[in-house]
């Protein structure tokens, strides 16, 4: 009813090609940003910010990163957590070596380290494809994880064998460490994630994104059309790892406040792959939806049980969570194999033509 584009006229190509060509979309986006930036931090509880929002945003960023690689370029990777770890450790080293520089700069800079590592591990992608490549990226995952455990220099020889996040301030506010308020950490995470999502959206709608998609759809054909495969694939690995690296740094500095190397384990790589697929391959919006769905579902199930004061022992609850999440993944794939993003597109299309769908 309200989602109607009658009366909105496009007078040039630029307007027609815009990411959000419909006015209601733009209003909706502004509304969501307003809620995210103002309403949530103002009224959300600590639990909402700390357990729901910050992790969802962090995972959304990592999901965008993997989506750029898997969804847009068609290269399956299982090394996501390893690349996130590179970002986290790089950020820790940088901020302890140069404590004077703002932490936000280091969080972003650490992405370049994981981009470099990611590109290096992306080299075999020229020859190896499909599932074979996925297992090749497992080499990156396990090798990097081994490095995190084995190189004490990375954690400044801490006796706890873990990253200990020091206190850092930004504009006089404490932004990391235990004394930082959840609101501040949430807002910084949100700002970085929104900015990077905007960048990603522009990349995939531009020349680079189109060449990625050409490679995804058929790399030999893309090559014949004049897309050079090696630089394109490596760029995809680098950009993807950049996003994952920043997500890893955000995760440790603004969510956990400290991390043992086993945080960046293979199960996290799989988790992010779930988010990509459930959200929808090749969709930035889907990345947010997938991250939210996969991450929040178990928590919501837990809260649900608590809400009804269900007399379920916690272990059973955990088992039920596993079963329900597993079952929902399957059901979901059967109902909509193209992910939440496709569901969203369909809904929008229905709304547009409502009430006369023909």
């Amino acid at each position: 009813m309200f989602y109607r584009e009658a009366g909105q006229f496009k007078t040039d190509y630029a307007a027609d090609m815009a990411v959000f060509p419909i006015r209601q979309d733009r209003i909706g986006l502004a509304l969501i940003l307003f809620v995210a930036f103002v309403i949530v931090p103002a009224f959300g509880s600590d639990f909402l910010l700390q357990v729901v929002m910050i992790p969802t945003l962090v995972f959304a960023l990592a999901t965008i990163g993997l989506n750029l690689l898997t969804g847009y370029t068609g290269l399956l990777s299982l090394g996501t957590a390893g690349f996130m770890g590179v970002g986290a450790f790089a950020c820790y080293k940088l901020t302890t070596l140069f404590p004077g520089v703002s932490i936000v700069i280091w969080v972003l800079a650490s992405g370049f380290f994981s981009a470099a590592i990611g590109a290096a591990f992306g080299l075999p992608s020229l020859r190896i494809k499909g599932f074979y490549l996925a297992v090749a990226t497992l080499a990156a995952q396990f090798f990097l994880q081994w490095c995190f455990v084995r190189i004490p220099w990375l954690i400044n020889y801490n006796v706890s064998n873990a990253i200990e996040v020091p206190e850092r301030t930004l504009l006089g506010l404490i932004v990391t460490g235990p004394k930082a308020s959840p609101e501040v950490r949430y807002l910084i995470t949100l700002a970085i994630v929104v900015a990077l999502a905007w960048v990603a959206s522009n990349i995939v709608h531009g020349r680079i994104g189109r060449s990625w998609m050409a490679v995804r759809d058929m790399d030999i054909a893309a090559e014949l059309m004049g897309i050079r495969l090696l630089p394109t694939k490596l760029l995809a690995f680098a950009v993807s790892s950049f996003y994952c690296g920043v997500a890893g740094a955000l995760m440790v500095f603004f969510w956990f406040g400290g991390a043992e190397p086993d945080v960046f384990s293979i199960s996290q790589s799989f988790l992010i792959l779930f988010m990509v697929i459930i959200g929808g391959l090749g969709s930035i919006v889907g990345s947010f939806m997938g991250a939210a769905f996969i991450y929040i579902l178990p928590i919501a199930l837990g809260s649900l049980a608590a809400a009804f004061n269900a007399p379920i022992p916690p272990a059973t609850l955990e088992h039920l969570r596993y079963m329900i999440v597993g079952a929902m993944i399957i059901v979901f794939l059967i109902v909509e194999p193209h992910g939440l993003a496709a569901l969203w597109r369909t809904t929008k299309q229905k709304l547009r033509t409502w009430p006369f769908p023909y």
């Binding site: 075999p124 090749a136 080499a139 081994w146 697929i277 039920l320 596993y322 079963m323």
Partner: protein
Amino acid sequence: MLYSIFIDPFVQMAGAPDLLVQTIWEGTVSGVLYALIALGFVLIYKASGVFNYAQGIMVVFSALTLVGTYQKLGGLGFSGPGAAFLALAFALLVMFILAVTVERVVLRPLVNQPDIILLMATFGVTYFLIGFGEYVFGGEPKQMIAEQLFLPKGATEFQMAGGFVQLQNIDVAAAVIAVIMIIGLSAFFQYTRIGRALRAVADSHKAALSVGISLNQIWIVVWFTAGIVALVTGIMWGARSNVSFALEVVALKALPVLILGGLTSIPGAIVGGLIIGIGEKLGEFYWGPLVGSGIESWLAYVIALAFLLFRPQGLFGDKIIERI
């Protein structure tokens, strides 16, 4: 430095041949077990094109069903070999039910979806089985009922070159059973009607359908066979350590084995398993100490990667032909 990488390990090998033989044996045994898990993957991949991530958890789940049922029977006053084989039969039944369920609930509705969606669906199966297995049988590690199943205990030792080599009887049994299984499976595929149908399906789904082969039936057969392989793997690995959910991670090692051998080749899985198993044990034993040990966790993947760079489809995989 160069000396310790290129010369010293070989000096050590020559100096203590018994340890070398022992290392190769240990590598062979774990290689055979990796190969068994990989075999389950290959069967399913060939017949249905599904990259079945759940094979690892099927190993744990089937072994858990076996041991858990045995314990439940023990609670009812049954024990000893009789109960053990009853439990074994029950575990087989459960694997069959699992195969039918997966075919009905997961595969049939997802026919013709892209590979990655099918992979994802097997993740769903994995999650479900983890939760279900722990819910029914509890999460604590259990002892494998090796004795009741008449699996040998103890070890055989023999002297050689100033030392000894020790073969665990259970490991020997594992190797023998693995060989029997592989021969049996090959014969099954080669000579039976279902086996021939299965090979036809592997070649082309459409062509197989058009000559009247029931895809659904084949899928059930294949998943059930993979379930049996998983059960055997679970028994063997469980007898070497324990039956617990930590085994699921070990099962990840089957992935490099799989791609090294080629996703579609049964001999490939075996050769791949042996290369990975022996390679990682030798690497860990002779070169690991140079970098502080523990390289076993990633060496297998790096070996696989190195092979793939030369043969992107694995050693025995079907040649990937790309056309526009």
